[in-house]
Amino acid sequence: MGRRRRGVDRTPGAGSGALPEAIAALSRALSAGPSPETFRRAKFDRPEAAPALWQLLFRVLSPTTQAGAKASQGPEAQVRFVKAALRCQGYPRPALAQLPEDGSQGSRELLLALAWLLARGPLLEQLLARTRVRLGDEMTVCECEDVAYDGASVGLPALCVEPNLHVDIRHVQWLMGKLRLRWRNLVSSQQEQCALLSKVHLYTRGCHSERSLGHLSATETELLRDPDGSRQLLQALEQENARLEAAVQWRRRELIFWQWMDTVLDSCPTQAPGAAPQPMFLPRITDRGPRQWGLVAGELQALQEQLQAAARPRRAAWEAQVRGRSQDPAWSTTWRAVRQAVDLELVALQGAWDRSGTPAQPHGPHRLVRSESGALAGRGLWAAEAIRALRSKEACLEVALRQLQGQCRQELARLVGTLSGFIWIPPPGR
């Protein structure tokens, strides 16, 4: 601690400048990150390195839409956010939670946190992809963006609902109707947009410098129409190119960084192994997670009861039948055969949800390319296939919805049947 030295720790096999170069590349790729000197100070847990690292982690961890809003809230809010986000990601070390909230200490811990994030996943690529300049007309086929839309509203600060508000059921009905209308508007707007895009693609056939794409996208055509926009886009592209080059350089040199991080970890004082992590009593603005959990738990329990109700009488009937048959020699072999067949079936059924989703499903936004002749076969996802996949998903969801509605119908019929003096006439069936 406090040993002032130029240059780098003598990691074996490294040139004296390789580590600062690697760190500098990392900083450039992260777009204006702290200098190699800051990193070096962080290894020795110098307090002056802390604020820069808090800010860096804040920038890295916050989603782009909210970064601006949160940044204006001050360093304490940033510190709390970083702690919460890291915990959310599953950061193992409890020392982070114990750092003071004024952001003045803990640079070594923050350095470890950053390295942990880098090691766990393709952090740089994800960050770059988040702000990637999209030159084409993009459409996503998977459902991941739906979560983003739902999350957009969840992230809003304090849905201002009065705590003692009672609503009428008619208000709920009205809101549902409003939702239906909005979807309908959305669909018609979307249809119009598709028609327009298709026209743009059609009219600009043969213009693109890349033969494989064949036509300009609306974005590119727009930049031809609007020179100001084209300047901005060009600037953004160039910035992204600079970051990408830095990232490529980082990739080549990162081994040295990891070797150095090992030394950083070694220089940490060892923690008491049994120290329980302090629970963080953060106010919950949304309980979407626990709500989801509650719904699933309820469903599973209901299902278990129904299964019990279905299986018990059968078991009783079976026992009654079996009494006269247990001496039959062929019976036990048949029994075992049936047992095995059922077990195999159930294992296969379990595989249906144990598998981590359909790996073949393409994710992320795709660039729309109009290609009538089929000349680009093999280069991308065909709309016809995507339509097929979506239709099957649609069918599944419709089945699920009908099933739920049927459940409700029966439940309500049962409940209402207990009333006397009223005749309940359900609406004409489908």
Partner: protein, 460 residues
């Protein structure tokens, strides 16, 4: 009226759904504005009727004598007249050809020195020199910019006629600067503007942009390829070791699940529940069919949610296949029950894990990985369509799937909130009938139809 906490939760969910929809609509509107503008005639850049993006100072500069000295004006007049004459000559030739829609006299007088190739073809020196003489700095920017981004023509290898057409028409976006200044008595309306439909395939992206774009795709390709390079092996081991050491040093027994992973687990269990339920219904329905020959009533087309399964009639002298199937059914149901038990157990484990650290402040768990299992190849991904119809179908299906999953989620939420309300008042003997009716329509018909309730008056 609904109780307060129920109201709060319902409102939160519904408003969330409405906001999500509104957000999509906003983004769509933005793109729609752009597309509509592209398909109209492109306003000449720099004219007062051009897009508001140019700002009010633009107009002022144009109308004010940002025009150069009288000397230049005179020269301009001369040039204009000369070019008018040239165009008239051409007009005579071109009229013999196919219908030329361009109002030639107009375009003749509009001649801006700062237009591009076509004029340069005919009057090579003059166009360039006048372009440089354009005094107003803003003018230079404006005329140069369209010159750069303006539809540069492909080498005019086609015949004279087409080149004349282009020459007369493509003065569109480049001009306008001089419209007010030189406003000759032939004060033309907006000259033949550029439309994508007619001249879309003449466009060409500016060179700087093309270079940047190709570099961009090259670099992204490099990013995905370096992941599989040779030194990646050593780096990957180093990273794994580092993570391991972190884990050990922190003193926790096992890796903690991140919020995203937990959500994924919960979704998995949800899917499991659904599949198990389907299987159960198949089994029970099959069992009923087997017993259907004995005249038992079926409980509806497979929706056996709330009712207990009817008793299977014991068959004293059943054929071997019959009891084998009965056995199979029984074992399947019991196996399903066991699996549900396992799922519940797993869920409770997750809950216990969650107790250690509550879900953080309004943090969308997907803040860092927008697409959970994102394809590691970060190269360009294309979606190829062949007709407008196909694209529209695709987009409509996407939205329908999103809407359906939202509907399913809302249905579950409504069930969880509203069914207890209806049943809670049951013992009182008279649950709020409007409430029952509303709940029924909401839950069973998505609010589209209502049941009827008749009061059964005892006669006499």
């Amino acid at each position: 009226m609904l109780p307060a906490d129920c109201s709060r939760r319902l409102l939160a969910e519904l408003r969330g759904a409405l906001d999500a929809c509104a957000e999509r609509q906003r983004q769509l509107e933005r793109s729609l504005r752009v597309s509509r503008r592209l398909l109209r005639a492109w306003e000449p850049v720099g004219s007062p009727t051009a897009e508001p993006t140019l700002g009010p100072d633009t107009q002022k500069e144009e109308l004010s004598p940002g025009t150069p000295s009288p000397q230049d004006l005179k020269e301009l007049e001369l040039l204009t007249q000369a070019l008018e004459k040239a165009v008239r000559v051409r007009k005579g030739i071109s009229k013999a050809g196919a219908g030329n829609k361009a109002p030639l006299p107009k375009s003749g007088s509009i001649v801006t020195p700062a237009t591009t190739a076509p004029l340069q073809l005919r009057a090579p020196g003059r166009a360039g020199s006048h372009a440089s003489e354009t005094k107003a700095p803003r003018g230079i920017c404006q005329t140069k910019a369209p010159a750069k981004g303006h539809p540069q023509h492909k080498p005019l290898s086609s015949g004279d006629r087409t080149s004349q057409e282009r020459a007369s028409r493509t003065t569109g976006p480049g001009l306008g600067l001089r419209d007010q200044a030189t406003a000759p008595p032939a004060a033309q309306p907006a000259p033949e503007a550029f439309t994508l439909k007619e001249k879309g395939n003449l466009l060409q992206l500016p060179a700087a942009f093309r270079k940047a774009a190709s570099q961009n795709s090259r670099l992204w390709a490099q990013m995905s390829s370096t992941e599989t390079s040779d030194s990646a092996g050593a780096t990957a081991t180093a990273k794994a070791q580092f993570l391991q050491k972190m884990q050990v040093a922190s003193g926790l027994c096992g890796p903690r699940l991140s919020a995203a992973e937990m959500e994924a687990e919960v979704r998995r269990l949800q899917k499991a529940c659904w599949l198990l339920r389907l299987r159960m219904q198949e089994e029970v329905a099959a069992g009923q069919e087997r017993g259907g020959g004995h005249g038992r009533k079926r409980g509806g087309p497979g929706w056996l949610g709330g009712q207990p399964a009817p008793q299977p009639t014991p068959l004293p002298h059943a054929a071997p296949t019959d009891w084998k199937q009965e056995l199979r059914c029984l074992l399947t149901l019991e196996g399903l029950q066991a699996m549900v038990g396992q799922c519940l157990h797993r869920l409770q484990e997750l809950q216990a894990e969650q107790q250690l650290g509550p879900w953080p402040v309004g943090l969308p768990p997907r803040s860092l990985s927008p697409c959970g299992e994102e394809d590691p190849s970060w190269g360009p991904r294309l979606l190829l369509y062949s007709s407008t119809q196909e694209l529209q179908t695709l987009a409509a299906l996407r939205l329908r799937v999103a809407m359906l999953s939202q509907q399913v989620h809302l249905e579950k939420v409504l069930m969880a909130e509203l069914l207890p309300l209806v049943s809670a008042r049951g013992p009182q003997g008279l649950p709020g009938l409007p409430l029952c009716r509303a709940v029924h329509s909401l839950l069973c018909d998505a609010g589209e139809r209502f049941p009827t309730i008749l009061r059964d008056e005892p006669t006499g």
